[in-house]
């Protein structure tokens, strides 16, 4: 009986964690979707640095030339 009680307690802990985990994954997905939309509306690239880092290497190339 004690063993059973322990097992159901474990089960409760695991279920609780599963709920927290699913909640988190869901929230992250929502945030990522929202930001994607916001960036599209503002005409911004996905990665804020993508353009910038390319620019610096272009400049470096020009100097070498």
């Amino acid at each position: 009986e004690d063993k059973d009680r322990g097992a159901s307690a474990d089960l409760a802990v695991v279920e609780h964690r599963r709920r927290l985990y699913d909640e988190w994954v869901q929230w992250r997905q929502n945030v990522l979707d929202d930001i994607k939309m916001e960036k599209q509306e503002l005409n911004l690239p996905e990665d804020p640095l993508e353009g910038l880092i390319k620019n610096t290497s272009d400049e470096e190339n020009q100097i070498i030339e």
């Binding site: 985990y21 988190w24 880092i53």
Partner: protein, 341 residues
């Protein structure tokens, strides 16, 4: 996890920051110089001299060409990482406790100390990315903290908000363009010493973690300042960071020497504590420092972390296989399900 010990500072560490690709470390201490290190072997790349007082803060720009620093000499300085040359000095009325670049490196914020006759402020500066270019000396925006001085601050995603942690344990959200305060939430315990001691971002800057003297760290949504998670420790916290790749957070703190009756390192609780970010449970601790941990930083690529102590040491840790293998049953199952789909 064998740490590399970096010996280059003679006084207490105040902040450590990694470069964006995790290969360089920048550290500041009360000994008036900034150190740059190679993260993989601890070799010193250089030091940056010029400040005339304790250094409180440092931040590299995302392109890893410039660092900004703030100090007790009431200045913010901008440095060329490669040459060590100081490119610009901005003067303030009081000490500068925190600097941070926004996500594209075009703007820098500085948090200034409150002192008789001067309110604490958050100031925004424009930064010219060109290391040989002229820098603008003007303060683009000044936010005054009338209620409680800001101790830390940072830029949200899209540089939309400036978020600040205050001495009274509250967190504020400001419009980053107008400086207007949009929200203020008492996230840390108001009844006890609850100063917000650190504020560090998730990789995409949509949420952040605060550390507080009230012995807790909080994970907070940048959009609405809702507290998502709380991590409870048994000692005042000086620093907290979110780890990339694994769903962990690392907390650092410890009772200051003057506040403990015994000098045992165990009593002082000078350990880096790992918590599961989602489940809020403590997973493990890493010992090593002989004094409180003043700053913890995570390698943005997820390969390791570094801590800086009141003892004057920087300890750099590369995570081993056990760290990457560790996961909860629930996480394993979720991964398996994903693979099956």
């Amino acid at each position: 996890m064998r740490p590399i010990l970096l010996q280059g500072h003679e006084r207490a560490l105040t902040q450590i920051r990694y470069s964006r690709d995790g290969d360089l470390l920048f550290s500041t201490a009360k000994d008036q110089h900034i150190c740059a290190w190679y993260a993989h072997n601890g070799e010193r790349l250089g030091t940056y001299h010029g400040h005339q007082g304790a250094l409180w803060t440092v931040d590299p720009n995302p392109q890893t060409t410039l660092i900004a620093s703030g100090a007790a000499d009431n200045t913010v300085r901008l440095w060329n990482i490669q040459t060590g040359k100081c490119l610009k000095v901005w003067d303030f009325d009081t000490a500068v406790k925190r600097v941070e670049f926004n996500e594209d490196g075009s703007k820098l914020l500085a948090v200034t100390e409150q002192r008789m006759g001067f309110l604490g402020t958050i100031v925004v500066l424009d930064v010219n990315q060109d290391v040989d270019g002229e820098q603008n000396g003007e303060k683009v925006l000044t936010i005054q903290c009338d209620e409680s001085k800001a101790t830390v601050a940072g830029w949200s995603y899209l540089s939309k908000y400036i978020v600040a942690g205050h001495e009274n344990g509250s967190v504020s959200q400001y419009d980053a363009k107008s400086g207007e305060q949009l929200d203020n939430v008492q996230v840390h315990d108001m009844d006890i010493a609850s100063q917000v001691t650190d504020l560090q971002w998730s990789a995409d800057r949509t949420y952040f973690i605060t550390a507080s003297k009230d012995k807790t760290a909080k994970l907070i949504n940048a959009e609405n300042l809702v507290v998502l998670k709380t991590y409870v420790a048994d000692t005042p916290l000086n620093s907290a960071v979110i780890t990339p790749r694994k769903e962990f957070v690392i907390l650092g703190g410890g009772q200051a020497a003057m506040d403990v009756t015994t000098t045992s390192t165990r009593q002082g609780k000078f350990e880096a504590r790992f918590y599961h970010k989602i489940f809020e449970e403590e997973i493990g601790r890493v010992r090593g420092h002989f004094g409180p941990l003043n700053t913890v930083a995570a390698d943005p690529t997820g390969k390791g972390y570094a801590s800086g102590g009141e003892d004057g040491y920087v300890r750099v840790h590369q995570f081993d296989k056990g760290y990457f293998d560790f996961s909860y049953e629930v996480e394993r199952q979720a991964k398996q399900q994903q693979l099956q789909q």
